[in-house]
Amino acid sequence: MENWLPLFVAVPLGMAFINLLLSKFIKRISPFLVLAAVVFQLWLALRFLGHAAFYYSMGNWTPPLGITLVWDPLSQLLALIVSVISLAVTLFAIPYMQQYTAQSKFYSLYLLMIAGMNGVVLTGDMFNLFVFLEIASIASYALVAFGVEAEELEASFKYLVLGGVSSTIILLAIALLYAATGTLNMADMAAALRHGISHGLLFFIFALFLMGFGLKSAMVPFHAWLPDAHPSAPAPISAMLSGLIIKALGIYALIRVFFIILGIVPIVKTIMMTLGGLSMVIGVFLAVGQWDFKRLLAYHSISQMGYVMVGIGLATPLGILGGLFHLLNHAVFKSLLFLCSGAFEYTTGTRQLKQLGGLIRKMPWTGGSCSIAALSISGVPPFNGFWSKLIIIVALFQAKFYFLGAVTVFVSFMTLISFIKVQKYSLFGNLPERLQGIKEAPVFMVAGVVILAVMCVGLGVLYPFYGPAILESARNLILEPGQYLQFAMP
């Protein structure tokens, strides 16, 4: 059983190559391969669900020599998110991508991206983290430019340059860590760091990682690429980028490195919260000014990741829980929103809110799901977004950050405003003349959308059934990073 851990990475990776090989000879095989890979991945994630934390050494070299994969509550959380979301997105993508040429390339890049994310989430080796991070990033760069329109290329290039810089910075930080500890195995490194490291160096490494992962997770002021990149990709990829990439590559890596390897320090917490607060406010204000549906959503991603960052940076039990919870929720409702925007674009051919309207009558399923997602991102009970925001706010008050708490509440109100606008202009009101003929999206797209919509409701209400097992266990690991040394090393 534990033997199967590498398949999280191996299967999507292999499928990517197989797909490229076969699709040259067999037309239309790509969707099936991808679906197979994603379903298998979900099945695997469910098999591993609740499994005790353990490490798996590739090729049976005992760590710290070999490369290890580690399954622990934190990886479990992310692995679950990735597999579930990517399943929904894949379902959506199958009909949606029909309109593009070179589909096989798309699916291979898509699988590479998934493999990269799984690798980042599971690896127990610092350099390996970087490698998988780069795999996922490069795939996403390429996917952003997939439509080869002017704007998409521009966005992709900016994303590429900024992302490249951040990767370089991360690599530098890893190199410094290696120089300081003489190992790349995370657990080994953590142990070595416990014994002490030059104060200045440690803080420099912190700064580098903050910039690197901060850019990957689009914290202000490293956010500028996101509002260009995320809308430019095809809708399924936008969903993946906003729903998963910024989390797996940004927040998760940050948590893993800061809390479990380096050991968090107060000033870094403060900085994280500051960045998070800035992102929340600036992101939401920019979002309010948007009329392009996807661009609006992208800006909201910035502000929502701000919530997560604030929660995590608070580093109180409640705060971290709220952060992780919001991470999960945002993954769900933001990918859902992007998928809905894709569905609207698919049927109406535009994503300008001013040219839409009354869609809920013509597309009840997609429209309804969109409405649910909008409500849950705006933190309206009983949808999932409400709970995580509530927890974060309470955590802030509990820690006596009254001002930041008020800001958080205010931002969630601004989010509400902005999504009222979205619903007003897209779902309700009059159906424009030229849209009279439109129909509900294809069944697979609807399926993908509805899965996520159901989760939006379920995640909030059913917390007692999954919360302790998935979220609180991860929280506990973050709070006692010492555990990691027990199970991640012989």
């Binding site: 033997n3 590498p6 398949l7 990776l13 190559f17 090989l21 050494s57 090729g59 049976n60």
Partner: protein
Amino acid sequence: MQGMSFIVKTVTRLLIGVIFLFGIYITFYGHLTPGGGFAGGIMLACGFILLTLAFGKETSLGKLSDFWASMLDNLGAFTFWLVALLGYTGGYFFINFIEKKNPFGLLSSGTILINNIAIGVKVFASVFAVFLALTIFGRFVSGLAESEEED
């Protein structure tokens, strides 16, 4: 005139075989000497680059069309993956499941040889592709330079 002067062409004719052999040699013996798949792949790619320089694109693409280049690319990656997966026959992912023959021989390293070949193929294919892309890019740049000179 397609390519470069006949002197360069002739010399290339004479060298190409050696370069080819050398690249493969480096690839095969990567587990005994430095280099391995990556260096070897680059060597091979350089051979094709030399062909392209001396004879022009048609010749080198005649040897290896871009379609097959991409196929090789994927094939290399796929092989590597397959070897890693076959590790399960030895009980562990990525384990070296082929028993090692006489030390310091060609087959002394089990799967590493295969991995080297896979990497070599992949690197060769992708470097060659990158080179072609770069030459097109170069044409663009020079074209731009001319246009700038004009105005």
